[in-house]
């Protein structure tokens, strides 16, 4: 209920409490809300009226003066009826004749009538006992007792109980019972056992005797009556008026059947209507497909792979899910691609991902999918599956200088002394980091395409030849002097 409703009595009455002020009624009636102290201000600065200095501008003659404070009244904890009456009279007084005259100057007779009707609708004692004006900082900036629902402002009420979480689909027996229950609501013209018999039309004297012993005249009369009765019943059945009430109740109508098919719940929730339009989810155990579409969840994973994403990868790589999740991965490129067909462009996403364990293993994976997330996921899985060990000199740099060319991209990698760091282009930094290299220099003299750079760098790292292998090929004996004689200290 908003301020336009008659509950605004308190506002009016407060403003009208000092009838000696001539402008008070007009001011209160014209702008009850704007001038109201009930409006919560959201500004740090005070209102314009309070900011004005009194001395600078002479107050207007008819400006509303400050209201005198009402005397403090307290009802107490258990007020008597008399006390309540006194309080009501002082706080919510009736309009005085002067006030009424003042109001009539402002409002049309129809408006006055509605104001008076509104005043009469509320007992002032209710205002004393029930109505409270909130003063807390969180009050609404409008007057409303929230007794009616305004569809524009208020949310739609949830009248129905929440859906039954235990509801499941009915089995055959339950469904049959439900169908019979529904069908029983309709009185179908079942007449067996309810029709009158021939004997019922016979006179009292002949009731006990078998029919052949009846006198011929009486028998003919009874038969005529009985036939008339049957015809009448048959006519009733044709009209659908089975129980003789004059209404057509010949079973369910088409509309009933349609509503049964479309609206009747097939769950064991007694056909309750829910607040939600959402259909309830399928049961966990649907017979026939139970367990067939469930991802195998390995208890060893510790709940890290609920979706079963890494189960194949576990078999391929022999790593645990924890180890897989701890790998260093990086998306090198995620780009939108399109396939031009006669039906038009089919858009998709291509992703390339680097994966390494930071300890000498590195792999790269490329994948395509319509959804970017799927492409990323597929590329990630491929990158992990493609991981291979690389040769590292002293676990920190590469053996010798490497060069690899992919398309127009040439990548040169140079081994460097300890403490040199990864002084490589940014798009190659993560590859070195993922592979667990610490000292490396690189040059990309030609095309710097990110994808080809990554491919070339990974290929260069993966196709290194170890000095031992070279020496064995040539039939030489090889000793790393630095390691053998100086323990890697020089």
């Amino acid at each position: 209920m908003s301020v336009a409703h008659p509950v605004a009595r308190s506002l009016f009455s407060r403003r009208l409490a000092c009838p000696s002020l001539p402008g008070a009624v007009a001011a209160a009636a014209v702008a009850p809300l704007t001038a109201s102290p009930l409006c919560r201000s959201f500004h740090a600065s005070p209102q314009l009226e309070t900011r004005r200095k009194a001395g600078k501008r002479a107050p207007k003659a008819d400006a509303p003066k400050k209201q005198p404070k009402l005397p403090k009244l307290k009802l107490g904890k258990n007020p008597t009826q008399q006390r309540i009456g006194e309080y009501t009279k002082s706080r919510f007084p009736q309009y005085t004749p002067e006030e009424l005259a003042e109001l009539r100057n402002i409002y049309t007779p129809e408006q006055i009538e509605s104001v008076m009707a509104g005043e009469a609708a509320i007992n002032p004692e209710d205002l004393t006992l029930q109505a409270r004006l909130r003063k807390d900082p969180y009050r609404f900036n409008y007057l409303d007792d929230f007794s009616t629902i305004q569809p524009i402002i208020d949310k739609r009420p949830k009248r129905q109980p929440p859906p039954d979480p235990m509801a499941r689909f009915m089995n055959l027996d339950e469904f049959t019972r439900d169908l019979i229950e529904w069908a029983d609501k309709f009185k179908v013209g079942e007449k067996t056992g309810t029709l009158k018999k021939l004997e019922d039309f016979a006179p009292e004297a002949l009731r006990g005797k078998p029919e052949p012993q009846w006198p011929t005249k009486a028998r003919t009369e009874v038969h005529e009556k009985y036939m008339a009765y049957l015809q009448e019943e048959a006519a009733k059945s044709k009209n659908g008026d089975v129980d003789g009430t004059g209404e057509d109740n010949w079973g369910p109508t088409d509309a009933d059947v349609l509503s049964y098919i479309l609206q009747r719940s097939s769950m064991t929730d007694n056909g309750l209507i829910s607040n939600s339009d959402m259909a309830p989810g399928l049961a966990n155990k649907v017979p026939g497909v139970e367990g067939m579409y469930k991802n195998p969840v390995d208890p060893e994973d510790g709940g890290l792979d609920a979706d079963g994403t890494f189960q194949n990868l576990k078999l391929q790589t022999g790593m645990t899910v924890k180890q897989i999740l701890d790998l260093r991965t990086k998306v090198i490129s995620l780009r939108s691609v399109s396939n031009q067909t006669r039906m038009g462009k089919i858009r998709g996403t291509s992703a390339s991902v680097i994966a390494g364990n930071g300890d000498g293993w590195i792999g790269i994976g490329h994948a395509y999918s319509v959804e970017p997330m799927d492409a990323h996921q597929k590329a990630l899985l491929k990158a992990i599956a493609n991981m291979k060990p690389i040769l590292r000199y002293e676990d920190r740099t590469v053996y010798g200088n490497l060069e690899c060319k992919i398309s127009g991209t040439v990548v040169r990698l140079f081994n460097r002394p300890p403490g040199f760091g990864l002084r490589v282009p940014h798009n190659m930094y993560f590859i070195a980091h993922a592979a667990g290299l610490q000292d490396l220099a690189a040059r990309i003299p030609r095309s710097r395409s990110p994808l080809n750079t990554a491919k070339a760098a990974v290929q260069a790292l993966q196709t290194q030849r170890s000095p031992e292998e070279i020496a064995m090929g040539r039939g030489k004996k090889l000793i790393d002097v630095r390691r053998v004689y100086y323990g890697g200290q020089v």
Binding site: Y399, G400, N401, R465, P467, E469, I470, M472, G473, R474, G475, K476
Partner: protein
């Protein structure tokens, strides 16, 4: 003329090696033979045999007593070289001539020292991992480290790796 033979030999050996050939033949010249022997010392090739236009059978490759070269058969003599492979990969992956007949490139001792340690020297880049450089010195055709041991510089023939 000799340098031209060397550049041809380098190109041929690289091609044969990449084509995964087991045996190949080179023109029988003194220069070619000296470089082939140096390559053999460095372990890039298996064996060198001087024979006629047809290669000796594999069983007699190492035991064959070559015919003495005479003026009658000199023009038909060839050097038969067996190439080396390890782990399905050629041992001689790359062999590139440096000097050519129109430009002969020398290396002195100071440069050779730098090259052997992997640094640039003059027009030469440093040797990479597993790389060898062959020079023609007055002690014969030598690998870079052999020449350094003997403290002789000379004409740079090729780089092999």
């Amino acid at each position: 003329m000799g340098i031209q033979q060397i550049t041809n030999m380098c190109a041929h050996l690289q091609n044969a090696s990449r084509a995964r050939l087991g045996i190949t033949s080179l023109p029988n010249t003194r220069y070619n033979l000296n470089l082939a022997l140096a390559l053999h010392r460095a372990g890039f090739i298996n064996s060198i045999t001087r024979a006629g236009p047809h290669p000796p059978s594999p069983s007699e490759f190492l035991t064959l007593e070559p015919e003495p070269v005479t003026t009658a058969n000199a023009s038909t003599r060839r050097l038969w070289v067996t190439l080396k492979y390890w782990n399905n990969e050629p041992v001689l992956r790359r062999i590139q001539a440096v000097s050519k007949s129109s430009r002969r490139v020398q290396a002195d001792l100071e440069q050779m020292g730098r090259i052997a340690r992997g640094f640039e020297a003059g027009m030469h880049k440093g040797l990479n991992l597993g790389e060898c450089m062959f020079l023609s010195t007055d002690r014969g055709v030598l690998e870079l480290r052999e020449a350094l041991d003997r403290k002789v510089g000379g004409l740079v023939l090729c780089r092999a790796s």
